[in-house]
């Protein structure tokens, strides 16, 4: 019988929309409360305070050495759950008992500072993640080796390529000797080869008795790494069991989802995804002149990101990642100058405060028919890939057949993309040697 690593009982977390102020300014609050007092005095009415339950009465146990995936749509409470388990924010009700040292990897490069060297950052980040100085010294060479940054170890990380930065940052976390590792969608970055390396590292650590809690939208990856999954829907535990069956349950849910209007608008700035620099306001999918989540295969698809810059002077880049229905990453794109088919004069420019809209267009006849989702990422520094806001799998859409490319073949086209490519056939004259051989 394995021992318990995490025991969660009746866990709930509420966010009061009234107290998370639209403006964190004293004057505004004083004014608001004065207004409220006057209103109450005159009409005797109480100000309604909206409460959002990010988690509702969640129970589960995780045994030592288990690897458990947490799945659910955006806003289902996955991140809140991880934050509570990592002790970053307190629950509203309920109790969690954690046995063992927790290491949480909610971000790649926790505590990294661009001005410090690779060596300094290893010590800093590992200490922040709870590692003893002696232990760091002991594992130091392994970390450097895993990340493959030997020659640059005494260079400030701001001079690293984004790949090197990510590798080093992940390597530190991978070697933190915690009993329980909590990982939040961090493998979406980095190249495939390094991703594989990380996954095998995680699998190795679970076989050594480490407990793993893993949030990801890459369902194929989850099924591979985790033996068990927990599905969260609107803050409640909907399913809990072997990965395959829970993932299936989730995908059926996704199909019938009601969020597929092709538009996602955060009307209330308090709940919108934001950082001190920028706030997301809306995401839309346009095709054939409509805002829609059903796209014809032979039409252009335009993704639109609306956002508000809250602090002027920060250079921003927009990036979109495209995923197939089973969570495979199809592509990543960004409005970097060198990666743009047209020109976007705002890319990487120091924005003033205000509202902006960035669009990205996929050509017609590009994606195969099927369902897809996008992640939206706002970066402040293209070089190190400094992420301001990342909303994984924020929106899904379907590509529909229209009869295009169907004049001859009517079976299923294999693959995730279905472009029209240039094909040509010409008669040619074979070389003389062949000719003479065939004539005898």
């Amino acid at each position: 019988m394995r021992e318990t690593a995490i025991q969660v009982r009746g866990l709930s977390k509420a966010y009061k929309v009234g107290t998370v102020q639209r403006e964190n300014k004293l004057a505004v609050q004083v004014l608001d409360s004065l207004k409220a007092a006057i209103r109450r005095g005159v009409r005797r009415e109480t100000t309604p305070q909206q409460t959002i339950w990010a988690l509702r009465n969640v129970d589960f146990d995780i045994q030592q050495g288990e690897s458990v995936g947490i799945i659910g749509r955006n806003g289902a409470g996955k991140s809140t759950l991880l934050k509570v388990l990592s002790n970053i924010t307190a629950p509203t009700t309920g109790r969690v008992d954690v046995y063992g040292q927790i290491g949480s990897l909610l971000e790649v490069g926790t505590g990294f500072h661009p001005e410090l060297t690779g060596r300094e950052n290893i010590y800093l980040s590992a200490t922040i993640q709870g590692m003893e100085r002696k232990a760091i010294a002991r594992r130091f060479d392994e970390i450097v080796d895993f990340a493959g940054v030997e020659t640059f170890i005494d260079t400030p990380v701001k001079r690293y390529s984004s790949g090197m930065y990510m590798r080093l940052a992940f390597a530190v976390s991978a070697f933190v000797e915690s009993d329980i590792l909590i990982v939040d969608e961090v493998l979406a970055v980095g190249d495939t080869e390094f991703q594989k390396k990380c996954i095998s590292k995680m699998q190795q650590s679970t076989s050594e008795g480490r407990t793993l809690l893993f949030v990801s939208h890459q369902l194929a990856l989850l099924a591979n790494v985790c033996e068990r999954c927990i599905l969260l829907v609107n803050g409640e535990k909907r399913a809990d069991g072997p990965s395959q069956s829970v993932i299936l349950h989730y995908m059926n849910d996704l199909e019938s989802a009601d969020t597929r209007s092709g538009e996602l608008v955060w009307a209330d700035p308090a709940t919108a995804p934001s950082s001190p620099v920028v706030r997301l306001d809306a995401i839309r999918i346009h095709s054939n002149g409509n805002v829609t989540s059903f796209v014809d295969i032979d039409k252009e698809v335009t993704f639109e990101i609306e956002y508000t810059v809250l602090r002027s002077g920060t250079p921003l880049y927009m990036s979109i990642q495209l995923f197939s229905g089973d969570g495979t990453n199809i592509l990543a794109t960004a409005n970097f100058k060198s990666a743009n088919l047209t020109t976007d004069e705002w890319a990487g420019k120091a924005y003033p405060e205000g509202n902006f809209r960035t669009t990205c267009t996929l050509p017609p006849n590009f994606l195969n028919d099927g369902s897809y989702s996008i992640s939206v990422i706002i970066l402040t520094d293209a070089e190190v890939g400094y992420v301001e806001i990342a909303k994984p799998n924020i929106m899904s859409f379907s590509v529909r057949e229209t009869g295009e490319m169907r004049a001859e073949y009517i079976g299923s086209w294999i693959g995730m993309i279905r472009p029209k490519l240039a094909w040509q056939t010409q008669p040619h004259t074979p070389p003389a040697s062949l000719k003479s051989g065939s004539s005898t």
Partner: protein, 276 residues
């Protein structure tokens, strides 16, 4: 169960909860964060660590010229520069400590949102980082005193006492202002203004003897007055020492604020992240 560390995560329910021991458990992180603050401050600067000395010295030259030469402020028989210097560096320690400590939570939002540790660690680390500037300035001060031929006395041995008292004042202010600044960013606007006022209502530029006799007792309740006067007295030996009774009363009141402040800080810590 095994000997594994057991953590309970619960809603906030205790009325009075400080848990300072936890900060001690995280001392290696504390030192690491302090080191980070110090080492990034002067990276990619031409003069590097020299700035630690240049800044206070430049300040003291300017203020000496204005208050000592132009306004001829009294200085209890010492050359004005020598009289101003100790007060200036201990005031700077308090001023910089308070402003860095109070803003430390908001300037480390990324860290706070992503990993757990007692948040007081970040505040203390920022305060400790300021100590380095102070120690360098203290060295310069000793050199200046030797140049001006001011004799060193046994009072010097009390420097650590007044330095600790200064840190105690800084921490008291920070445990209140740092959590408040998360909720109300106004703090960061008010703070420089408050610090400036505190400099003029403390005996930095002038001796306490300039204050009318009837007000001197009340004036001495200010713990900053106690620390500035005491620190100057440690170094110069002949300037007026703090007035014991109001000094002790002032410090006891500060201690009360610190205890309640620590509880307030712990309480706020539970939901910092939701309010950022």
């Amino acid at each position: 169960m095994t000997s594994k560390k057991h953590t309970v995560i619960e809603p906030y329910h205790r009325l009075f909860d400080i848990r300072l021991g936890e900060v001690w458990d995280y001392r290696s992180l504390l030192l690491m964060l302090a080191w980070r603050e110090i080492s990034i401050r002067y990276k990619q600067t031409l003069l590097g660590i020299l700035w630690v000395v240049i800044q206070p010295v430049a300040n003291i030259i300017i203020f000496s010229a204005i208050f000592g030469v132009l306004l001829r402020a009294p200085s209890e028989g010492y050359p004005y520069v020598v009289y101003l210097f100790p007060a200036m560096i201990i005031w700077r320690l308090m001023g910089d400590g308070i402003s860095r400590g109070s803003l430390s939570l908001t300037s480390n939002v990324r860290l706070i949102e992503k990993v757990y540790f007692p948040r007081l660690v970040i505040v203390i680390a920022n305060i400790l980082a300021v100590m380095v500037d102070f120690l360098f300035a203290l060295l310069v001060l000793l050199v200046v005193m030797i140049i001006y031929g001011v004799g060193l006395t046994w009072n010097l041995l009390l420097i650590p006492l007044y330095t600790v008292l200064a840190l105690f004042i800084i921490l008291t202010v920070c445990v209140w202002l740092a959590p408040l600044n998360i909720r109300y960013r106004d703090i960061s606007h008010i703070l420089p203004f408050l610090l400036q006022i505190s400099m003029y209502v403390s005996p930095v530029f002038y001796p306490i003897t300039l204050i009318p006799e009837s007000l001197r007792w009340v004036y001495s309740l200010n713990p900053m007055t106690t620390v500035i006067q005491g620190f100057r007295w440690c170094l110069l030996g002949g300037s007026s020492p703090p007035d014991l009774i109001p000094a002790v009363i002032g410090l006891l009141i500060t201690g009360g604020f610190l205890v309640f402040g620590l509880a307030f800080f712990k309480r706020s810590e539970y939901t910092f992240v939701d309010e950022i």
